[in-house]
């Protein structure tokens, strides 16, 4: 079902998504002082998906997400998040939503355990705070005041608060900014675990293309208030069908060849060089190449 829908959507932009999608957006527009910040965005995010929204600063990423989160009002378009319009949804709608926001530095004087336990009180069927603290890997720091935590640990508290109410949909706004590489890997594992075994839909915004590639089932690129591409990271923007580049060493010099048929080219080369090709690499455009082309071509 989802296979068909996704392929159709990427092929001709037809919008045939069933209403059971976690997020459904049609023709979303938002103006700031008459200037469109979001200018006709369509989005479908299926249940259980990790979906990444990419885009440069000022492209409308945050505005879009804040409208989905119910923090801002739209000027036009249809928005359905977990079956309800965020602008009109009753407070109980938030039982299904988890938020991990940017730049929070609140509750500095509380301990991790106190903070997570406090937020558990807001929900009818929360997870066990100790289990959530374990899930985000903070058990050893549970008694520490939040003020004393590192940036990465602090972010994990935000995630713990985000998932304490068993959300069906979790919003993560640039979750790993400022992380060291190891902390980032651990964080990715946590998100994969949430999506995979806890059946949480995740909408992620990020600046890091490697993050989107490592985590997301699908990514959307937003530029100048519009979605310019949607698809799995491996095929985004025709990436998998783009010419491949062969690079090898022959006669002491680096040689390159760009071709739509790298397998045949490598085979021919192998025969010509008599077996193993010295220093051979075959590459496609990286997600970053595709992304830069997409945001460059639309602005």
């Amino acid at each position: 079902m989802s296979v068909l829908r996704r392929s159709r959507q990427s092929a001709d932009g037809a919008h045939t998504a069933p209403v059971t999608d976690a997020v459904r957006v049609r023709g979303l527009r938002k103006l700031y002082r008459g200037v469109p910040a979001v200018d006709g965005v369509d989005l479908d995010i299926a249940h259980g998906e990790i979906f990444a929204l990419l885009g440069p600063n000022g492209a409308g990423k945050t505005t879009t997400v804040e409208i989905l989160e119910g923090f801002r009002k739209r000027d036009a378009g249809e928005v359905t998040v977990l079956g309800a319009d965020p602008q009109r949804a009753p407070m109980s709608w938030r039982y299904g939503i988890g938020l991990v926001l940017q730049d929070a530095h609140d509750m500095a004087e509380l301990t991790v355990a106190e903070t997570v336990a406090h937020f558990a009180r807001y929900y009818p069927t929360p997870r066990d705070p100790a289990e959530v603290i374990e899930l985000v890997g903070l058990t050893a720091a549970a008694g520490k005041r939040i003020r004393m935590l590192s940036g990465g640990q602090r972010r994990r508290v935000d995630v713990a608060i985000g998932v304490i109410g068993r959300p069906r949909l979790l919003f993560l706004d640039e979750p790993t900014t400022g992380f060291d590489p190891e902390a980032r890997r651990q964080f990715w594992d946590l998100l994969r675990d949430l999506a995979g075994t806890q059946d949480t839909t995740i909408l992620l915004t990020t600046h890091y293309l490697d993050e989107a590639e490592a985590l997301a089932d699908r990514v959307a690129v937003i530029s100048a208030g519009r979605i310019v591409a949607v698809g799995p990271p491996a095929t985004l923007g025709g990436r998998s069908a783009a010419d491949a580049r062969l690079r090898w060493i022959e006669g002491g010099a680096v040689r390159t060849l760009e071709t739509p048929e790298p397998t045949a080219a490598a085979h021919a080369l192998s025969q010509r060089l008599g077996g193993e090709i010295p220093g051979l690499t075959i590459t496609r455009p990286t997600l970053e190449d595709v992304y830069l082309t997409l945001i460059g071509s639309s602005s």
Partner: protein, 302 residues
Amino acid sequence: MTTQPATHSPRASGAAGAAGAAGAAWVRPVGRPPALWRLVLARGALELRQFFRERDAVVFTFALPAVLLILLGSIFDTQLNDRAIVPGIPASQLLTAGMIAAGIASTSFVNLAIGICSDRDDGTIKRLRGAPMPPIAYFLGKVILVLVTALAEVAIVMTVGIALFDLRLPTDLGHWLTLAWVFLLGVTGCALLGVAMSSVPRSIRSAAPVVNLPFLVLQFISGIFIVPITELPSLFQHVAALFPLKWMAQGFRSVFLPDSGVALEPAGAWEHGRIALVLSAWCIGGLILCLTTFRWRSRRDS
């Protein structure tokens, strides 16, 4: 983009397909939603815990009116010794009553205005708006914080007055009742004004000066530092009569001074009816101001 083949990870389609069957119903609280009063108590407990853990802030917040009272009480008593305005009433007792009023205004108006400004700045409010918590629970939690800190402040200033300046606690129920209603109306009015005031500073960095200057001016013209209030130019007295602080101080003087002290009042009477009227009007006006001007976001961020 148009030539894209339909390939994606097996995990993705599997998860999406499985969850698709779960449907879109979001209202599925298996347990009962938490009762409002529980949320209010939880918020109040959290506010108190956070407040009392900022040790230096706690010490200096509570010490300020007490230290001011000790300084002003000592200075004015020596100056006014030989021209006691009304026999048997030292200036320090007038100052104590005024400082109780100022202490209440400080813990409600000033601390709430700056505290909410800080909540807006550090992400507290945004996080709470994104949580299934009714805004009223946030405000009532603040009310608990203000009530506890204001009561503690009153107790401290009263103790200084009793220990150093021969202040006497009221001995009859009537005076205690007056103390109670002036306290409650004063806290409520000042707290609501504090909530409204929290929208004025552009950021947390400007909050303290923006809130403190008007409060300092109000204390001067309301006869908190200069006693009796009739010593002040009449213009000041008239302006001060528009705000709650002067009336709170007057109410507390009626509680703690002997009956002969009434001669020091501008009207020659305690004016309990008018005190109740003005403070109630500020409670209503403050509520309207809150409802019409309160902003969840800081002005920089709107």
